[in-house]
Symmetry: C2
DNA sequence: TCTTGGTTTGACCAGATGGTCAAAACAACG
DNA sequence: CGTTGTTTTGACCATCTGGTCAAACCAAGA
């Protein structure tokens, strides 16, 4: 699974070969296919495992908590996901870039439903004047973008800031950004 | 070129076949190879054309202008690029995801140099108190992330906000975000 | 009409790729 | 040691893929 994640997250489904995965896993190709019935099965298994936790950070956004703190905490959970599971983030990015053929239905059902729900919560906070009146959908997009960028575009970030761990600075910056955005 | 852009931006270099490009272009494979010497040549040509304009929005950031206006204008130029050239954005994203093997040197030279230069300009503005004291590198990253997200993750955005054109809302939101971030 | 230059294509090739299969290797247990 | 169930592999196959080539096609000028 880890070997598959390495390769799929880099080259996407079509750009990945079973030989690559088998090599990375230290197995022969037939041996790899002894554990997984097909290339597609490996990919599906990885995507399913990813999706199990992918939406958790947003699910945990609590409508009863302090609005600004809740949203900042959400962004931090998402940033931690990028830091600790960058390959999973890139696997997801690859899938989206390719038109999300294998998770399109989940995007339109589970994801949309969850985002609608949390967007309503955020809109409630805005209407009550607890946070600035921002579009909740674009707010959520911006948190996705700001956090996943460090995993998905890691090569570029490393090229611009060589040697340093960007996540420390990213966390500080993220605090600044979100508290500023939301200040009523 | 357009057909190649369509396919490469979706599937990446390794995931793209000459037959796909030829089909999309309405040519036979040998005919395609009459105009381009190889698959690699098509990809290289596309990347080179992309890179010609990719850094222009940042280059145009003027150290003599009004700081907040300059940065907002930069973000808008970048958002316009996402809106008008989403396939190019995805081609770039694919290349970065795959480890940027073909443009690594450009990232480490041209891109890094340009970002360093503009980061210094932004830091100058911050030091003079014209904008809030933010990390200029993460500021630039955040503009990249916020704008490219709408092109690269278009499928996801469409799934969450079906039918609507996200770019209008994105522009408004971007104004809000950046002016808030930078307010001294 | 004939020629000439550019364009298009069917047939083909070598190597890669996803996947199969039977046989071999191995570990565990009586 | 012999048996049994699991794991591993070499050999193989059909299809795909990047790329070649000679032949055919076609437009335009002499």
């Amino acid at each position: 699974m880890s070997a598959g994640l390495d390769i799929f997250s880099q080259f996407g489904f079509r750009g990945t070969t079973l030989d690559q995965i088998a090599d990375a896993a230290g197995l022969s190709k037939p041996n790899l296919l002894y554990y997984f019935p097909s290339k597609e099965a490996i990919h599906t298994a990885l995507l399913e495992r990813l999706l199990e936790n992918w939406l958790d950070p947003l699910k945990a956004l609590n409508s009863g908590g302090d609005p600004v703190q809740e949203i900042i905490a959400y962004a931090h959970r998402k940033l931690a996901l990028s830091k600790d599971y960058p390959r999973e983030s890139r696997l997801f990015a690859n899938e989206i870039l390719q038109g999300a053929p294998r998770i399109e239905n989940i995007l339109h059902t589970d994801l949309k439903q969850l985002v609608d729900e949390k967007a309503a919560v955020i809109k409630g906070w805005a209407d009550k004047g607890k946070i600035a009146p921002v579009d909740p959908y674009h707010l959520i997009f911006s948190i996705w973008a700001l956090t996943q960028h460090y995993a998905d575009f890691d090569v570029q970030v490393q090229a611009v800031m060589p040697g340093s761990d960007p996540y420390a600075g990213a966390a500080t910056y993220l605090d600044h950004v979100i508290s500023r955005i939301l200040q009523p």
